[in-house]
């Protein structure tokens, strides 16, 4: 397998779209209730954790782009093959593919749970997962351009939600934020660690990089996308801390959705129902992109070219989703996943960069 990967010209994308891709894949299921998890660790300084996590993400993305630039238009599957050799490379690629499917599963499970608790108590899990999966399959078999279109519209069409932030303002109590820095550094860092599940998604850059037309602009738009997400998270975190009292927040599983509960419009009294249902549009690009990158991985690693693969993956996920159906199971699944995701998305890029550098040095030395 060659490191370089040159997609067909009709599949290449304008680089500015990277902003939408990264933003839409980062914002998804975690944003519905990340506040509480971080608040448990860092208390009223949770917003500092969010800022730190954001800064760290910028750092990781910088390293990721550096790694990719070593080889020209490469993706993670090619780099693995190059760095680890044929067999170990295949093994590591398989892990990455499984990771992508795993994220897919987590997003799907959590969204279905939210739907069932908030709006449709009686609709069975299989119906939700089957209908969402069909939608995702439609996107993924349609190719990267369809998926990217979904990303673009997902961001554009959900901007109105930001406009509703003004409603909770009459209940705000700014003294909740004081005193600043009361938690110690360890708890704040622990909070940062807990941000993992919410902030991941930017690793898509590893797979989508060869598809982008102007490689020079990648850095700019990747960082812009992440900065957009960070600002959104910070805003939500601050709003949540001043809106809920500490004890209340610890009892609220989906704080962002609960914020919608005080919005009362003349024509819709209960906006949270709209928000929860609308969330499908926000998680759809997430699901599509992860399934696509898993599919892309199999295509690159094992030279399989078939849309049947997409159906196969979907079937596995569908069957899996039937078994994880209670809050406790989902929580265990999330926690287990978060620890893996942390090492894979936040720590591994540094390792990969160092390995790739060494490998590159060695080959140039050999050639001499």
């Amino acid at each position: 397998m060659k490191v370089q990967y040159q997609p067909q010209p009709q599949n290449s994308l304008n680089t500015f779209i990277l902003f939408f891709i990264i933003h839409s894949i980062q914002v998804g299921i975690g944003v519905q209730g990340f506040q509480r998890i971080i608040f448990f660790e860092a208390k009223q300084d949770a917003w500092i954790s969010v800022v730190l996590a954001g800064i760290f993400t910028h750092l990781v993305v910088m390293v990721m782009i550096k790694t990719l630039q070593l080889y020209g238009p490469a993706d993670i599957y090619g780099i693995h093959d190059e760095v680890y050799g044929k067999w170990i490379g295949k093994f590591v690629n398989s892990i990455y593919i499984i990771y992508c499917l795993w994220v897919f599963m987590t997003i799907l499970m959590n969204y279905i749970e939210v739907m069932q608790t908030w709006v449709f108590q009686t609709v069975p899990t299989w119906l939700f997962s089957a209908s969402i999966l069909l939608l995702v399959i439609y996107g993924v078999t349609g190719g990267i351009r369809v998926i990217v279109g979904a990303c673009f519209f997902s961001v554009i069409l959900s901007v109105w939600m930001l406009g509703l932030i003004g409603y909770p303002f009459r209940f705000l109590d700014y003294s909740h934020l004081l005193p600043v820095m009361e938690s110690n550094i360890t708890s704040i860092l622990k909070g940062t660690y807990k941000m993992t599940l919410t902030i991941i998604g930017f690793e898509i850059l590893y797979v989508i990089y060869p598809f982008l037309k102007e490689k020079g602009k990648v850095t700019k738009f990747a960082h812009l996308g992440i900065a957009g997400t960070n600002v959104l998270y910070l805003l939500l975190m601050l709003l949540t801390i001043v809106y809920f009292s500490p004890g209340q927040l610890e009892n609220t599983i989906w704080a962002t959705l609960s914020l919608f509960k005080v919005i009362k419009l003349p024509f819709i009294e209960r906006t949270e129902y709209v928000a929860v249902s609308f969330w499908l549009l926000i998680i759809l690009p997430n699901l599509m992109l992860y399934l696509w990158s898993a599919h892309q991985g199999v295509k690159r690693t094992f030279k399989l070219k078939s849309n049947g693969l997409v159906w196969f993956f979907s079937l596995i996920i569908f069957l899996g989703s039937l078994f994880i159906d209670t809050r406790i199971k989902i929580n265990q699944f999330n926690d287990f996943f978060a620890s893996i995701a942390f090492y894979l998305t936040f720590c591994y890029p540094f390792l990969l960069y160092i390995l790739a550098l060494i490998k590159k040095k060695m080959t140039t030395l050999k050639e001499k």
Partner: protein, 375 residues
């Protein structure tokens, strides 16, 4: 292309299937608009639900259902047995507690209601003077729907800040905060035809510890909220010879103020011996005063300002002393303490002890903006 066609068929069929998710037709459900909770027999809860039926044929749309159960949800389920339409609580607007509910400590009603995503966070909570069922059972010609009547009554009074705002969100917010306690407005049945706002219930944690009158409620709002427009009659006790009662009918001087604007600010000035500075700024229009004093004279205005300032300050100090004696922190002094002292590790118990010894200096700044059309 053929493949895509198949996909669309499958997708559409699922869309249709999703459309079958438990429809709720408005004619087929009974909307609960208000609910009341009283202590029942053997520790159960006696629930009174006001059900609104959308039925074009019926002459009376409102049905009152009464059931007893151990849990809040159980009340609804039990009430469902008595009604021809399935009950839905998505339109619940007012939750009324009987006074008896608070005699045995934590009721947990608000908490358990908030776990149900169907209940809105903007639902109003209130306490009944006596039993909640007596208020909800009230039958009067001018009140066709008691649920909506209560909602409008509370909503209207809360908006002009005559009543303290007590939505589910605010009560739970204060309940879960260390250093702030919730309040509930008290509704009282007057005669056989009327319901009126009659005072404010003061809590310590979730225990009812005291009540203040509607007049005192004005001062509470002054401390915890901002007035944009409000009005009050205030009694002036003055020795000044200029301020003499207008006639013999009323042997005291009362000033009527409106267009009240206010802002307040609480500061912790001593961390060891807990001491607060409570600064209140108040401006108002003087509309009426039961004295023959000439309002054209600036000196007289100054005098009235001074006298009103004095009596208001006295009222506020009295109110705070009352809260301290009841160990209830509805003003939120504890929150100020917590946010100004680092690593205070404040707990409820610790704070209630400190609150009793805390010193509060009230500084009131009252200005008369204008005096209406005449001088």
């Amino acid at each position: 292309m053929r493949k895509k066609g198949w996909l669309w068929c499958g997708f559409l069929s699922f869309l249709l299937l999703c459309g079958c998710a438990e429809p709720k037709v408005i004619e087929e459900i009974g909307l609960i608009t208000a609910s009341g909770y009283d202590p029942g027999k053997n520790g159960t809860i006696l629930g009174t639900l006001v059900e609104l039926k959308i039925d074009p044929v019926a002459t009376n749309d409102v049905v009152i259902l009464e059931t007893e159960s151990s849990t809040i949800r159980g009340i609804r389920n039990a009430a469902n047995k008595k009604t021809s339409k399935g009950l839905a609580s998505g339109q619940l607007r007012v939750i009324l507690y009987g006074e008896g509910m608070f005699n045995k400590g934590n009721t947990g009603i608000a908490e358990s209601l908030s776990t149900d995503p169907v209940i809105s966070d903007l639902t109003y909570l209130a306490m009944a003077d006596g039993k909640a069922r007596d208020i909800l059972q009230l039958k009067a010609k001018q009140i066709p729907d008691i649920g909506i009547h209560l909602y409008n009554l509370i909503n209207q009074n809360t908006k002009v800040k005559i009543m303290p705002s007590a939505t589910l969100q605010e009560v739970l917010h204060n309940h879960f905060t260390v250093g702030k306690d919730p309040v509930l407005p008290i509704l009282k049945k007057e005669g056989n035809k009327e319901i009126a706002f009659s005072g404010v219930a003061i809590f310590k944690g979730s225990n009812l510890v005291g009540k203040i009158s509607t007049e005192q409620s004005f001062y509470l709002t002054l401390l915890t909220d901002k007035f944009k427009s409000g009005s009050i009659d205030i009694e002036i006790n003055s020795d000044s010879s200029k301020l003499e009662p207008i006639n013999r009918r009323l042997n005291k001087i009362v000033a009527s103020l409106d267009s009240i604007g206010s802002s307040s600010d609480i500061k912790l000035i001593n961390k060891e011996k807990v001491e607060f500075d409570l600064n209140v700024n108040l401006t108002a229009r003087l509309l009426e005063i039961t004295s023959q004093i000439s309002l054209g004279n600036p000196e007289n205005i100054k005098l009235i300002e001074k006298e009103i300032n004095k009596s208001m300050k006295k009222e506020i100090e009295k109110l705070i002393a009352y809260f301290q004696s009841k160990e209830s922190d509805v003003v939120g002094l504890g929150e100020v303490y917590k946010s100004s002292v680092r690593h205070s590790k404040l707990t409820d118990e610790k704070w209630y002890k400190m609150l009793k010894e805390a010193k509060v200096n009230v500084n009131l700044d009252f200005t008369i903006r204008r005096t209406g059309l005449i001088e």
